[in-house]
């Protein structure tokens, strides 16, 4: 048996530099310190993405796209297909947890100041991945073609229409017409199952490559380190299993509802709200009056929200411009401010 294994290995070795890859992996080390639990958050995001790909492919086996087919096929998956409800629920919960873990990962990187030179590009790709995750969430939300999804998409895409000059053009591009219809559904479907996952996979590749090239932040200050392989990886995988269990429990005990079918002539139902990761923006838009002076309130709101986004994206650059001795304090307070604001607005949006 072992002779066979050796033969197979050396056959491979002649074609693939396995040994040097293993040799390389054996040198990779991860710093050990008080905050190192947060090192696992990024891995969890990637695991959840893979879970989304897997359950997404399974859902594709029954899902049909179209304003007269999507809702019916999701109902069918949830009600008739064996374990269909489970696949759908895991996909929905997985999506929510993925966004949650991206936030955890992002804020932990932020507070560890791991975005500083030379890791600006890693931060930027990470922000891009957050954007992609939110776009995946937004496009996937429409696919069951239910009432909530219909209005969420109407509002979300109408915001694009507010952009000066190119707004109308953008709106038609995204909706596939002037209104949210079956054409919008087809576009979102294409984005959700092909374009966005491909971009996300590329983004994750670039992100990991950058992490690999630069090594972990604070690696040299850390007094202790552990080997990445197998020590860190084993912990990674153990946590992934835990997360998988969490998703399973949530999916079983809080299965996702199908809701009522979208109706282009139905009023928006009372109590309608977006997914939690859009609640803060939603609450902010709700607070703005119709007009502020000459400017429509929502235009002002959208400009403000984008401003905050750009400011967050550019963190590594404004951070570098702050005088050295005040830098840590500024970053800390800005971060705490951002978290507080985000939490307050989200909770408020949820309650009101």
């Amino acid at each position: 048996m072992s002779a066979l294994k050796d033969a197979a290995l050396s056959w491979l070795e002649e074609r693939l530099p396995l040994r040097s890859a293993m040799e390389f992996a054996s040198h990779k080390r991860v710093p050990v310190h008080r905050g190192d639990v947060f090192y696992y958050a990024g891995g969890v995001c990637m695991f959840l993405f893979l879970l989304q790909v897997a359950t997404g492919i399974l859902l594709l086996m029954y899902y049909r796209v179209g304003s007269d087919a999507s809702y019916e096929s999701v109902r069918y998956i949830s009600a008739k297909v064996p374990f269909g409800w489970l696949m759908r629920s895991v996909h929905s919960w997985g999506a929510n947890l993925m966004v949650l873990f991206i936030f955890i990962h992002m804020f932990s990187v932020y507070f560890m100041k791991a975005f500083r030179k030379p890791r600006e590009l890693t931060w930027l790709t990470g922000c891009g991945l957050l954007g992609l995750a939110m776009a995946l969430g937004f496009s996937g939300y429409l696919l069951p073609w239910n009432e909530l999804a219909f209005f969420a998409t109407k509002v979300g895409t109408d915001i694009l229409g507010q952009v000066p000059l190119v707004g109308h053009w953008l709106l038609r591009l995204v909706r596939g017409g002037d209104e949210v219809t079956g054409a919008t559904l087809s576009r979102f479907f294409g984005l959700h199952v092909a374009v966005l996952p491909a971009l996300t996979a590329l983004g994750i590749g670039a992100h990991l490559l950058l992490v690999q090239v630069q090594g972990m932040a604070h690696e040299h200050e850390a007094r202790r380190t552990m080997p990445f392989f197998p020590d860190f990886l084993v912990r990674d995988v153990a946590l992934w299993l835990l997360v998988l269990n969490l998703v399973g429990v949530l999916a079983v005990f809080f299965p996702w509802e199908v809701g009522r079918k979208a109706d282009a002539l139905g009023s928006a139902p009372a109590g309608i709200k977006p997914e939690w990761y859009f609640l803060a923006q939603y609450q902010f838009l709700k607070l703005l009056p119709g007009r502020v002076g000459m400017v429509p309130g929502e235009l002002l709101g959208i400009v403000a929200l984008n401003g905050v986004g750009v400011w967050w994206l550019l963190t590594p650059f404004w951070d570098a411009a702050v005088p050295e001795r005040r830098r840590d304090a500024v970053v800390r307070w800005a971060g705490l401010g951002a978290i507080t604001l985000l939490t307050v607005m989200t909770v408020w949006g949820h309650l009101s």
Binding site: D158, I159, D178
Partner: protein, 141 residues
């Protein structure tokens, strides 16, 4: 001009030309053709007896939704049902005898005027006429 500069320029402009020749049709393909809007002058909303005071109905006027309301006093109103804020569909609230948008809590009075919440503009008004006992919605003159 140096030979090298010239060649670089030629290559770059050639590539730019190729790229735009490829991109233009793709972009145009992605933008759906404008549909000629069917613009009816009138739409029937149903017999008068279907509208009890304090009730409403949403119907299609061309491609746009219009809400026909019979208020508590028995008067008829027809307004565009598309919220002027971010495109949700409004509803008639019998309890407050006004038009309400659930998406961000926008309120309009029965003449379509935006009275509170985020909506920036009033709802477009339509005319309502009784033709025999048939409630008919007309484009406002």
């Amino acid at each position: 001009m140096k030979r090298r500069t010239f060649l670089n320029l030629a290559i770059v402009s050639g590539l730019a030309g190729t790229a735009s020749a490829l991109l233009y049709p793709v972009l145009r393909y992605l933008l759906p053709p404008e549909e000629a809007e069917a613009e009816p002058e009138t739409v029937k909303a149903g017999p008068e007896k279907d509208f009890a005071p304090g009730s409403s109905k949403i119907l299609k006027f061309g491609r746009k939704p219009v809400i026909v309301i019979r208020d508590l006093a028995g008067g008829f109103h027809a307004l565009s049902a598309t919220c002027t804020h971010l495109d949700c569909i409004v509803q008639y609230r019998k309890d407050r005898d006004l038009v309400w948008c659930a998406c961000h809590n926008g309120n309009y009075d029965l003449s379509g005027k935006n009275v509170s919440g985020p909506p920036p503009r009033p709802l477009d008004r339509f005319e309502v006429k009784l033709v025999g006992s048939e409630v008919t919605v007309l484009r406002a003159a």
